[in-house]
């Protein structure tokens, strides 16, 4: 049996199913990260003393990571645009660039974490370090999750392009939406944790 509405829009929603599905998933993700941002605000306003992020965390590395992530956002949208133009080679190139930027983000994050551990800064130290590791750790897991799906789309999943090019293009769009959300979370994480 064929899965309905993978390409054509459902008459009642005006959307193909995966697109509505990913937006509902992203709505749940907003609540997940929202709960943690709410925790950060509550901890910060309730604390007698709260450190400045820039005194403890590595701002240049985090700035570099911000650049890496926004670059990956543009490369993933270019991979989708390439498919819409029917250019599979360019899709692979841009999706490969996005994956590589994801790897770069994780390497920089690992360097940052290693430096914290070297200085004996752990989540158990205080509320600031606890929320820093929780938020950036959860965000990092999201980056990793996106990279796994991208590796699939570059590799074995790309076979779909030959049999169902429109469906494959939609898959790439949906992954792109998820990836932009991961970028969006970082855009707020970066100033609230590192710069204030």
């Amino acid at each position: 049996m064929q899965i309905p509405y993978t390409v054509e829009a459902r008459p009642d929603t005006g959307l193909y199913n995966a697109k509505l599905g990913v937006w509902l998933f992203l709505a749940s993700e907003v609540m997940l990260f929202g709960a943690l941002f709410s925790t950060l605000i509550l901890l910060r306003t309730g604390a007698a003393e709260w450190p400045h992020g820039y005194e403890i965390l590595n701002v240049p590395l985090a700035t570099l990571n911000t650049m890496v992530l926004i670059s990956s956002s543009v490369s993933v949208v270019l991979s989708w645009a390439s498919l819409r133009l029917g250019d599979f080679k360019k899709f692979r190139l841009w999706m490969g660039v996005t994956f590589a930027l994801g790897v770069g983000f994780m390497i920089i994050k690992t360097i940052e974490y290693a430096s914290k551990f070297e200085h004996h800064l752990y989540p158990s130290n205080d509320n600031f370090m606890a929320i820093y590791f929780t938020l950036t750790g959860l965000h990092g897991l999201h980056v990793l999750g996106g990279m796994i799906v991208m590796a699939y789309l570059i590799g074995p999943g790309s076979r779909m392009w030959k049999s169902q090019p429109d469906r494959f293009t939609n898959r790439v769009e949906v992954v792109g939406l998820y990836w932009h959300f991961v970028d969006l979370v970082w855009i707020f994480l970066f100033p609230t944790l590192y710069l204030l």
């Binding site: 390409v7 509902l24 941002f37 969006l184």
Partner: protein, 99 residues
């Protein structure tokens, strides 16, 4: 999949590049502002204002919310309502305890 023409897609691509340049520039502005050592209230307001502009650019252009179906707007409005409650209700409780 959208039924846009090749020319339209190429035009969209140019917009993506412009958005990327704006995001990179705003990131540098955010970092630069943090070195001004403004008062905490002003620093938070400014940092969140710039982050909101960056977030809006990503959502509007990369996530194509600028031209999306009504159902998605409805989902997002509902999400925004719950998000605001999630952020401000605990703070309200905290303010209450302070008296």
């Amino acid at each position: 999949m959208s039924g846009h023409s090749a020319e339209e897609i190429k035009k969209e691509t140019r917009v993506y590049i412009l958005v990327f340049v704006a995001l990179a520039a705003l990131t540098l502005v955010t970092v630069g502002v943090s070195y001004l050592h403004l008062s905490m209230g002003a620093a938070i307001a400014l940092a969140l204002f710039i982050a909101a502009i960056k977030g809006s650019l990503v959502a509007a252009f990369f996530m194509h919310l600028i031209s999306e179906r009504k159902l998605i707007y409805a989902v997002l409005i509902l999400t925004a309502v719950f998000f605001v409650a999630l952020i401000f209700l605990p703070l309200g409780g905290y303010a209450d305890r302070l008296g």
